[in-house]
């Protein structure tokens, strides 16, 4: 079935034939507009219904605006609601006409019936017309003070709507502080929840503009607010509970007894029938216990059963969402779930999106004790009628084989796949056998015997064909027919569409030639000739290269093309651990389903508060005072986030290089530059300004602009770890060494600091990012400097300052 094009819709009885219908409606509406005759409301209802049904299917009925407004003078609440719906939909495109509605909406805002007051206020705020905002402030103000909770509920969201139409009007009218007051005092929990939603949205949007926004956001996760919400949590609706729980994940408790109190209080939320509540609770538990390894493990055990229940009790869609989270947990702690592997067996009627996840989980939990059962089960799926899942299952067997120490049983199964005589099974199995041989060359004998029986004509998929050819080349000494199979493949060179296969073919025939020259010589000649004539650049280049290196020296060619190989011990993991950690931080969000951190799929303006600030929780300006001054946040741009891993390596390489180079030049010229450090053993001569000053925005700007000059990992002494209970301790210490903190944050075991220092009597700055993990006693240090040549000297100084921390 073709998808419906926008213009052509399926015929429906309510479809108007054209303009005439609309003008007909218009006339009828006019007729009823002023009428107060009995029964007129019923006729109006029918007309309104028609208008709204047109609106739903996408027909523009905005030309009726005037008539609709005229008809809105009614006491019939159903009619009123339909009218509000219509007006809300079209006011934005008809701002002039929208003005007409203000009158009756404002009047309704003072109606006796709270229901009408609420409805009118909601519609008034939904007009989304910028030049009407002046009419909103009054009704909103009284709505927030209304005696009826329904009206207050609507008014709170109304404030948020106003903020989106005109942020300045909203802030100037001081609505946020009214919301704050309501949030902490209202008796109705839905009003409280709406205040919380609205304030979170407003302050994170304001974060980049206003000075007070960060402070206000901080206030939302302060102890009194959190405790106030926690104590009332059961009064909230299940949806509002999710909101509160999400807020709690950002709260940093002061000690472990506080953590346990919160967890005990929330314990029964894990038994909630609503999966969203359970997952939000799980997130709180996981985040709170991150630094308490033992408890964190217990949390995994505790949340296992509720999550598995959610998987089987909900709709397949809900199961999918929960399974994705289980998948994340399984990847982090496979051993916790290794005895539950049967829960991850696929059921024949499950949608493929669920089956795929389960296959990945089976791969992850496989260990010595359950591999046999899991692989047996996976083999059942390989014969499945659902071909994509069958293929996925075969790959899963392969992955398990590659992660196990004892692959005896698995190799047999894989080889059985090759004998199943189904094209797609053979194709996937070949790729797997190839990978397996790269890791376990000792199995070559068994595998080759089976692979040798496969007719290359039955293998069509490029990946599989390439794998087969690779094996033919690699093991040509053990495979009787290898040269001849290769030869026949080369004869059909022109029919081979995949460049990947042709590249492999070239390499394989070379390898074969070194092992069995007389049998292969002619094939090699043909292959090189065909390759040099190939239109594909890579194939052409490779053929030419082989040709020349062979002419130069055959033994050199052999060393290049077919050197002795070391077995691959670990195949590269596709996702860096940094990305995985980020996804874990974003537990209970789309990041987990997409298996990507949010910055990869959410537009910047919808990402809410800057990620970086979020991660740091309460990053605070590093004045050496005990009361934490709420902070100026440092935002790391996306590029930084994306590049961190790659960049690190690059800079490591390049700094080493430039260092050497600059030393070389020094020597060459024989100049003594005072700022340049001497050989490492002698003490650094760099002197720092004890009263250095740098404002946060300059810091931020510089941090973005400067390249990383040095990046290294330092170890911390046990004394230092003991002293680092809170960021402040280190700040004061570093300050005594003229290294100042501009921002700090985090909680045990992860602390993050930004330091800066200035060269004495010069305006040359050093910027430092220092991430300390107290459980591993390591500090990751990144240094940026205005004057790159002195960064090494500064680093030495920084290191010595850090090493003295905690030593009295």
């Amino acid at each position: 079935m073709a998808p419906p094009a926008q213009s052509q819709r399926s015929p429906s009885p309510s479809q108007p034939s054209g303009k005439s219908e609309l003008s007909d409606l218009k006339l009828q509406l006019r007729k009823f507009a002023g009428s107060r005759a009995p029964g007129v409301d019923d006729s109006k209802r029918e007309l309104f219904k028609k208008v709204i049904s047109y609106m739903t299917i996408g027909i523009d009925v905005s030309s009726l605006f005037g008539e609709m407004v005229m008809c809105s003078a009614t006491s019939d609440i159903v009619l009123k609601k339909m009218c509000y719906l219509y007006v809300g939909n079209y006011a934005k495109v008809n701002p002039d006409l929208a003005l007409l509605t203000i009158n009756f909406l404002q009047r309704d805002c003072h109606d006796q019936d709270p229901m009408i007051r609420g409805l009118a206020l909601r519609s008034l705020c939904s007009l989304r017309v910028a030049n009407l905002v002046e009419y909103l402030v009054g009704p909103l103000g009284s709505g927030l003070k209304d005696s009826n909770s329904y009206v207050r509920m609507v008014a709170v969201i109304g404030v948020l709507k106003l903020y989106h139409i005109s942020a300045s009007t909203c802030i100037d009218a001081d609505f946020p502080s009214m919301l704050k007051h309501l949030m902490l005092n209202d008796s109705d929990t839905q009003v409280v929840a709406n205040c919380l939603s609205a304030l979170q949205e407003i302050w994170s949007a304001e974060a980049s503009r206003s000075e007070e926004a960060p402070r206000e956001r901080e206030a939302l996760i302060s102890k009194p607010v959190i405790y106030y919400l926690l104590n009332r949590i059961k009064e909230f609706s299940e949806w509002a509970q999710c909101l509160v729980l999400e807020l709690i994940t950002k709260y940093v408790p002061s000690d472990s007894s506080e953590i346990f109190d919160i967890m005990n209080l929330l314990e029964d939320r894990l038994q909630h029938a609503n999966g969203a509540v359970v997952l939000a609770t799980v997130k709180v538990f996981l985040q709170l216990t991150l630094s308490m390894t033992d408890v964190h493990q217990q949390v995994y055990e505790r949340i296992k059963a509720p999550l598995l229940t959610l998987v089987s009790s909900g709709s397949p869609e809900q199961s999918y969402a929960v399974l994705s989270h289980l998948h994340l947990l399984v990847m982090r702690a496979p051993y916790v779930f290794s005895s539950d592997y049967k829960h991850f067996y696929c059921q024949y009627n499950e949608p493929s999106y669920v089956k795929r996840l389960k296959l990945e989980m089976l791969t992850a939990v496989a260990n010595e004790s359950n591999t046999y059962e899991i692989v047996t089960e996976l083999c059942e799926y390989a014969a499945n009628v659902d071909i994509p899942i069958a293929r996925e299952s075969i790959r899963a067997v392969g992955k398990i084989a590659l992660q196990q120490y004892d692959v005896n049983a698995i190799v047999d199964r894989l080889l059985q796949f090759l004998e199943m005589d189904k094209d797609y099974v053979t194709a996937d199995a070949l790729v797997l056998v190839k990978d397996l041989l790269r890791k376990y060359p000792q199995w070559s004998h068994d595998c080759i015997a089976v692979v040798g029986n496969i007719s290359s004509k039955n293998v069509q998929e490029p990946k599989a064909k390439a794998a087969l050819i690779w094996m033919l080349g690699e093991y040509s000494q053990d495979m009787q027919d290898a040269p001849y199979i290769l030869e026949s493949l080369i004869e059909n060179w022109d029919e081979e569409h995949s460049a990947e296969v042709r590249l492999h073919l070239l390499t394989a025939v070379m390898k074969c030639f070194f092992k069995r020259p007389p049998e292969t010589q002619s094939a090699l000649g043909a292959a090189l000739a065909a390759g040099v004539a190939d239109f594909h650049q890579d194939v052409h280049d490779r053929a030419l290269f082989y040709h020349r290196i062979l002419r130069y020296n055959v033994s050199v060619a052999e060393r290049v093309v077919n050197p002795p190989k070391q077995a691959v011990s670990v195949f590269a993991d596709t996702q860096s651990s940094e990305i995985k950690d980020r996804i874990f931080e974003e537990f209970n969000s789309l990041s987990v389903l997409y298996q990507k951190p949010s910055y990869m799929f959410i537009d910047k303006e919808h990402r809410g508060p800057p990620e970086f600030a979020d991660e740091l929780g309460n990053l605070s300006i590093g004045e050496a005072e005990d009361n934490v001054v709420p902070s100026q946040r440092v935002e790391e741009n996306d590029k930084d986030l994306l590049l961190t891993t790659a960049e690190k390596e690059e800079t490591r390489g390049s700094t080493g290089h430039s260092q050497q180079a600059s030393f070389g030049i020094d020597d060459l010229l024989g100049l003594g530059m005072p700022a340049v450090p001497d050989a490492p053993p002698s003490p650094p001569q760099l002197k720092l300004n004890a009263k250095a000053a740098l404002d946060p925005s300059t810091f931020q700007q510089k941090w973005r602009q400067l390249p990383v000059a040095l990046s290294q990992e330092l170890s911390l002494s046990p004394q230092a770890i003991a002293a680092l209970t809170a960021p402040q301790a280190l700040l004061r210490h570093m300050q005594s060494h003229s290294i100042h903190c501009i921002a700090s944050g985090g909680q045990s075991p992860n602390f993050k600091f930004f330091f800066f220092a200035q060269k004495y009597k010069e305006s040359s700055n050093y910027l430092v990012e220092c991430i300390i993990n107290t459980s591993s006693a390591k500090a990751q240090v990144k240094i940026k400097a205005d004057d790159q040549s002195t960064s090494q000297a500064f680093s030495t100084l920084f290191e010595s300052a850090l090493s003295k921390f905690g030593i009295p």
Partner: protein, 451 residues
């Protein structure tokens, strides 16, 4: 926080469309539908419930063949949105009595009214049918349930969902009875979906019960209700693998692996005497969901044999034996089995005197289908199918066919032996005696025998 909500028919028509925040372009319904329809070129795979197109996240659930969709640009909790969509469908069903394309189209104004109260500016306000009653004024136009044909192509969507038709009552929570009076009644359904996988030698590889105690109350005045379950019920299997069958068999106790409860449920005396107390809100809701891997007696034993009969022929013999008491019947039983790809024809032979049985060979996907209207407890039924192949079979046929799967419903029977011992309604007056219905039903979820 969501941006838009809409319901699409199977053909992709908007039935209702509500834009809450104006952040996502209007064409989103078309973009969504195209994406779902053509998720993979070969049409073999279903689109996942959540995906992202150009920065817009689309969430959808399928309910009775309709697509309930939400969009957003922010990184929200997926389970919250999916749960919400499911809940919106339930609220609409509470109001309309029957949820179908027809009833939605007839009542779209009411649905808009509900949507306005359920969500404001993308934030959930309430999904409680009870609370909504005071805000919603349209009267539902009730669609006659009996007239409803099972929508043809909708059946595809039905298979995946675990909801069951038939047990839930098709009566609106707000509509009055023809007499103008509401009938005081309460329904408690114990629904158990069972999954069993038999190995080729008939041994049970895995088995699980996913149960729900579903309630639908039409009681006025919100009286408190007490539900008593088996006293020997225990929850959580301490230590060791949960698949350890030895410990549990014979002891007679019912051991749930885990369970969860609706928020209206009070568990104050649950630990003591296994009673749940609650003030049921209006509408349909699960009181308790539970999960059980304790060993139980599978209601059906399946036996399947394939015999080669020459190079182009084979015979399949499927035997199904009902292992439950003879006063119980299973309904709408369907046995299915994929046959080798090269099967050209299948000739069926039913047992002599077979009534209410049908057989079919689905040419397109090479599947054998055997339907039985009714199976009486204790009886055994056999099907023989003679297959003709279009090519010589060289591989082992058992690798090319199967597994046998079975779907069924067994009313008034539950495999877990979990029971509602009594259902007590706090009395308002001595004459107050509402109707109480406690019903049990067992359904297949995934019932598979490998060959």
């Amino acid at each position: 926080m969501i941006s838009q909500f809409f319901v699409l028919s199977q053909r992709g028509d908007n039935i209702v469309f509500r834009d809450y925040r104006g952040e996502v372009a209007k064409g989103s319904a078309e973009i969504f539908f195209r994406k779902v329809k053509f998720w993979k070129e070969d049409g073999q795979e279903e689109a996942p419930p959540v995906f992202n197109v150009d920065g817009v996240n689309y969430f959808h659930v399928k309910v009775v063949g309709l697509l309930f969709v939400a969009t957003t640009r922010v990184n929200v909790s997926p389970s919250l949105v999916l749960e919400l969509l499911q809940r919106v469908a339930r609220v609409i069903k509470d109001y309309l009595g029957v949820l179908s394309e027809d009833s939605l189209r007839k009542n779209f104004v009411l649905v808009y009214e509900l949507l306005d109260e359920v969500i404001d500016f993308g934030y959930v306000q309430t999904t409680s049918t009870e609370v909504l009653k005071s805000y919603v004024f349209n009267e539902p136009i009730v669609v006659d349930a009996a007239r409803l044909q099972p929508l043809g192509p909708a059946a595809i969507f039905m298979q995946g969902t675990k909801r069951m038709p038939g047990t839930a009552v098709t009566k609106s929570v707000v509509a009055n009875e023809p007499g103008g009076r509401k009938r005081e009644e309460i329904f408690v359904d114990i629904i158990e979906k069972i999954s069993v996988t038999f190995s080729s030698s008939g041994y049970i590889l895995t088995s699980e019960i996913d149960g729900t105690i579903q309630m639908k109350s039409y009681l006025s005045g919100n009286p408190e209700i007490r539900l008593a379950l088996n006293e020997d019920l225990s929850i959580g299997r301490g230590g060791g693998s949960i698949y350890d069958y030895r410990s549990s068999s014979g002891s007679g106790a019912i051991i749930l692996d885990d369970c969860n409860f609706h928020e209206s449920v009070h568990l104050d005396s649950f630990d003591l005497d296994r009673t749940l107390s609650l003030v049921p809100p209006d509408g349909e809701f699960p009181v308790m969901n539970y999960r059980m891997t304790q060993e139980f007696k599978p209601p059906f034993h399946i036996n399947c044999l394939i015999e080669e009969a020459g190079q182009h022929k084979a015979e399949v013999i499927i035997k199904v034996r009902a292992e439950f008491p003879s006063n119980i019947n299973a309904n709408t039983v369907v046995v299915q089995m994929p046959l080798p790809k090269y099967t050209a024809r299948a000739n069926f032979e039913l047992e002599p005197g077979a009534v209410g049985q049908r057989t079919d060979f689905k040419e397109a996907n090479k599947k054998l289908e055997w339907g039985l209207k009714k199976i009486v407890g204790g009886s055994e039924h056999t099907l023989r199918a003679k297959l003709t192949f279009s090519q010589e079979s060289h591989a082992n046929i058992t690798k090319e066919a199967g597994p046998v799967s079975m779907t069924f419903t067994i009313p008034m029977y539950n495999v877990s032996r979990l029971q509602v011992k009594y259902l007590q309604i706090a009395k308002k007056s001595s004459s107050y005696n509402p109707y109480r219905w406690v019903r049990y039903v067992t359904q297949s979820n995934s019932y598979v025998a490998r060959i």
